[in-house]
Symmetry: C2
Subunit: 269 residues, 2 copies
């Protein structure tokens, strides 16, 4: 299995790439090629839009690449997603794509285009405390489809998104079909009033109201409200699900942390 | 003209209510009734959802009220907007509604329901530097339809929204028809990467692509990005308009400040 790493959002840390390369070498069951674009820097981004798009299109079209692993999140994959998905080369649809957070824009569009995609840890996660386990979990699924890497309790078609990313792709060309899907959401670095407002938006969308159920992963690094918001993240999500006629099915084991699990989009094999 | 003030989001300051009452008394051309609900406090909100909804429904249904003036923004009008607009009493559609920022959720829904609504300064603005002029501008339009209070250059149907509020009402039951409208946007207290992501979402919406043109008001209190984002707010908005086939028509004089102008929704009289 040959895995290509590109960075459609922000720059990958060299030490993260080196640490993941050591893990891959020790496993001996896959090869990993970190595209040099991952280390470009252009303000907020891992290189200008054109460089990030070119690297992504290059690995998508490469018939020797079995999986495309997004280096990290941050912000910016939405800026190139539509162009990346224009005239998709046939080789692009035969491979697997993995990432989470900002990469959700691409996961959504690639899934809609017919490729196999999965929410899961990314190379940059190796620098987290316990990050080696996260990267190993991602590779176990990419290379061996190890079911131990998966989110527990998946029993039908599923998708996972950062809630803020999901809110920002609704109604755009990237929006996939949510009908009958178990939707897992998580967030990081937001105030609770923003979580509440974003849930109003997401649960108020007719396309989201077609999901089978929603489960909530971790909502980390909440920025304090002044005054206190008055409801916690689970009360907020459960309340908007109730108001919107969506089944709220409890917590999920996804989030911006080393315990983050793998959620393949669509029907389980 | 009888103006009722209610607070569908956050609590109005007593000193703001008193200062506006003095302005109204000096004018002598209108009466203002500040609903006691405006001073309630419940965590983030000016009272629980039920209290904010009851006050709003009460003034909407009151045939003696000519205009409903939203006390201030903050967050929370979306939580009661759908319920406020269920079975709208006939008296509600014969009056004018004014506010901005978070009140945009209600302006959108009320405009969609057929009421006359306008973006414009709110009572709490009186505490800003120069705030007396802002409140006077709002009253000049509410009471006398004084065209000097209006945004310059309006030459057809228009709407104005806080960009983040607009993004969060797209696809919900509150979304109005943007066909042929000049859309004015502004924002406050966001990082530029969020403005960029929100513009991706808004300009990527098929319903927004029906607008006649977009103009950009002020984007205030930008939270610094690290690293620098690399584009300013006007470059961001113009770029997403260009990508989306929307005419970008330059700047507008709206924003979270005392210079904020009045933008009546829909066709100008």
């Amino acid at each position: 299995m040959r895995i290509a790493v590109v960075a459609p959002s922000c720059t990958l840390k060299r030490e993260a790439a080196e640490a993941v390369a050591r893990i891959v070498a020790e496993r001996g069951d896959c090869e990993m090629a970190v595209h040099p674009q991952c280390f470009l820097g252009d303000g907020h981004f891992a290189g200008p839009d054109a460089a990030r798009l070119a690297a992504l299109r290059e690995v998508m079209a490469d018939p020797d690449v079995d999986a495309v692993w997004f280096a990290r999140g941050g912000y910016g994959s939405n800026r190139i997603a539509e162009a990346a998905l224009a005239d998709v080369p046939e080789a692009a649809l035969g491979k697997t794509y993995m990432g989470y957070s900002d990469a959700g824009f691409l996961l959504a569009g690639l899934h809609k285009a017919g490729a196999e995609v999965a929410w899961g840890p990314m190379p940059q996660d190796v620098v987290r405390s316990g990050g080696e386990a996260a990267v190993t979990r991602a590779l176990d699924w990419l290379v061996r489809r190890d079911s131990a890497a998966l989110e527990g309790g998946l029993d039908g078609p599923a998708m996972a998104f950062n809630l803020t990313v999901l809110s920002n792709l609704l109604g755009t060309a990237l929006e996939p079909d949510f009908s009958g899907v178990e939707l897992l959401i998580e967030d990081v670095g937001e105030q609770l009033y923003r979580i509440d407002r974003t849930m109003f938006h997401v649960a108020g969308s007719a396309s989201i109201r077609k999901v089978r159920q929603i489960r909530l992963g971790r909502v980390a690094d909440i920025i304090p409200n002044d005054p206190e918001f008055g409801f916690d993240e689970e009360a907020i999500v459960a309340d908007w699900c109730r108001r919107s006629g969506i089944c709220y099915a409890g917590r999920a084991d996804i989030g911006h942390d080393a315990a983050n699990t793998v959620v393949p989009f669509g029907r389980l094999d």
